[in-house]
């Protein structure tokens, strides 16, 4: 068994969180730069230029990229040959979020209870998804998810007969309705299949893929392309001010599902896509 101390995990989480709030991802920066050249609307091009300027300023380490420093989402992929030592894994992850919030001067954005809007005061708890995988590795995706784009996200149980065109319509309608309010240009994660709860999880997991990286499945990749093209004909544009760049990328993840079901979910992500991959 490979041993990993919880302290090592906590330190890695702290560093990743502090980093994603001040440094734009290279794939996102490249996608924005490209959109800045192809965007049809002058106002849209100005908006994208402002976002790139924003990223430059955040890198100085004084002001985070966005004031909504989000809810922390962690996807832990733990090798089954790893023995976590030195304490409780979940406690270490939450302690990492707490420490990064303090040291990174992040906003406290989590309420204790959905009805009693009392702030937890330290951005915990993070939402943690665990997966046991073969091997000795430990990989943790660290995402800071903004509330505005999360609010635009939707799921539904479509009929199997709706097919892939049903999924296209569902996603395009969701963007038509809620795209402008969720900080476009958007990054869209789509989950199709599984059970009721699987689709939203897959949709979020789809956001972990590097921007512009197509699905390894040829048909799914084709559907991603079609949906992205359709979304960019809506005219919503950067900031919702009108334009040809409403989304930067669409990623779809699928899973087997019941013969009578077709669960579908779309997780909206704003252009301030704060995500890191930690390998231990």
């Amino acid at each position: 068994m490979r041993k990993i101390h919880v302290r090592e995990i906590q330190t890695a989480i702290v560093n990743a969180i502090k980093n994603i709030h001040y440094h734009i991802r290279p794939d996102l920066k490249a996608a924005l730069q490209q959109a800045g050249e192809t965007e049809a609307s002058p106002l849209g091009r100005q908006a994208i230029k402002l976002l790139l300027e924003n990223a430059k300023m955040a890198a100085a380490g004084v002001h985070p990229l966005c004031q909504d420093t989000g809810m922390t989402i962690l996807f832990v992929e733990m090798g089954q040959e790893v023995n976590v030592i030195g304490g409780d894994l979940e406690a270490a992850l939450q302690a990492g979020v707490r420490q990064a919030t303090e040291e990174g001067r992040l906003r406290h954005s989590i309420s204790v209870h959905p009805f009693k809007r009392v702030n937890t005061g330290d951005n915990t708890p993070a939402v943690v998804h665990y997966q046991i995988v073969p091997g000795k590795g430990c990989k943790i995706y660290v995402m800071a998810k903004g509330g505005g784009s999360e609010n635009a996200s939707v799921s539904a149980m479509l009929l199997p007969s709706a097919g892939d065109t049903g999924v296209q319509d569902f996603v395009v309608n969701a963007v038509r309705e809620n795209g402008a309010a969720s900080c476009p240009p958007l990054i869209l994660g789509i989950g199709v299949g599984g059970s009721f709860d699987t689709a939203p999880w897959l949709a979020k997991k789809a956001l972990l893929r590097p921007i512009g990286q197509a699905s390894s499945d040829v048909e799914t990749a084709e559907l991603e392309k079609i949906i992205l093209e359709k979304i960019n004909t809506l005219g919503v544009g950067p900031q919702g001010w009108g334009g040809s760049t409403t989304a930067l990328s669409v990623a779809i993840e699928t899973a087997p599902c019941h013969i009578v079901s077709m669960p579908v979910a779309v997780n909206f992500e704003c252009h301030s896509h704060r995500l890191a991959e930690v390998k231990l």
Binding site: A40, N54, M57, P64, C66, Q67, A181, G237, Q239, G242
Partner: protein, 184 residues
């Protein structure tokens, strides 16, 4: 951004000629307020009581900044989603607010109400919190300190750019902007 220079608090005459899609650069003092603070003001105004601050001729910015770095007035300070504030807007407009600033579209009802009252809506660039944070040169809590980032602050801003999204001529950028680029 090149655009119309506007001094805060706003002179209503200066708002007459600005049009949707135009940049304005704000300089002066504005108030911040969002969900919880607006809910409280709404409750006060509904009961016929005075809000904790004088809102006449003021611009309200929907924002909840991050904690400041040492020596800085605020951290990141970009706009939050405006439509979440809609239930509370009539109350703050009754109290004298002449302009609001946030991000994203507002409902048809709100747009009509703004146009009837002669209120403008400025759309700041969502997700540009670092850029906007650096445009803030002073910050002081003026009400509801216990709300932390949701407290009402007076912010001193300089050359703070935003786009006019609802003007006094019946324009609504969130409708007309996308219309011009729709190719469905």
């Amino acid at each position: 951004m090149s655009g119309v220079w506007l001094q805060l608090p706003l002179d209503k005459k200066a708002l007459q000629d600005i049009k949707i899609g135009e940049w304005v650069n704000l300089t002066g003092s504005l108030y911040t307020a969002r969900d919880e603070a607006l809910k409280r003001i709404h409750a006060l105004v509904t009961e016929g009581k005075q809000p904790p601050i004088d809102l006449k001729e003021q611009l309200i910015y929907f924002v909840g900044p991050t904690p400041p770095a040492p020596g800085e007035p605020v951290g990141s300070a970009g706009p939050t989603t405006s439509r979440r504030m809609e239930p509370f807007l009539p109350a703050i407009l009754d109290a004298g607010v002449v302009a609001v600033m946030g991000k994203g579209p507002l409902s048809k009802t709100t747009v009509a109400d703004f146009q009837r009252r002669g209120v403008i809506y400025l759309s700041a660039a969502g997700g540009a919190g670092a850029f906007y944070g650096a445009k803030v040169h002073g910050a002081a809590v003026v009400a509801y300190e216990e709300l932390g980032p949701e407290a009402i602050y007076s912010l001193k801003v300089e050359n703070f750019p935003a786009v006019v999204a609802i003007d006094l001529k019946g324009g609504n950028l969130f409708e007309q902007g996308p219309q011009a680029y729709r190719k469905e």
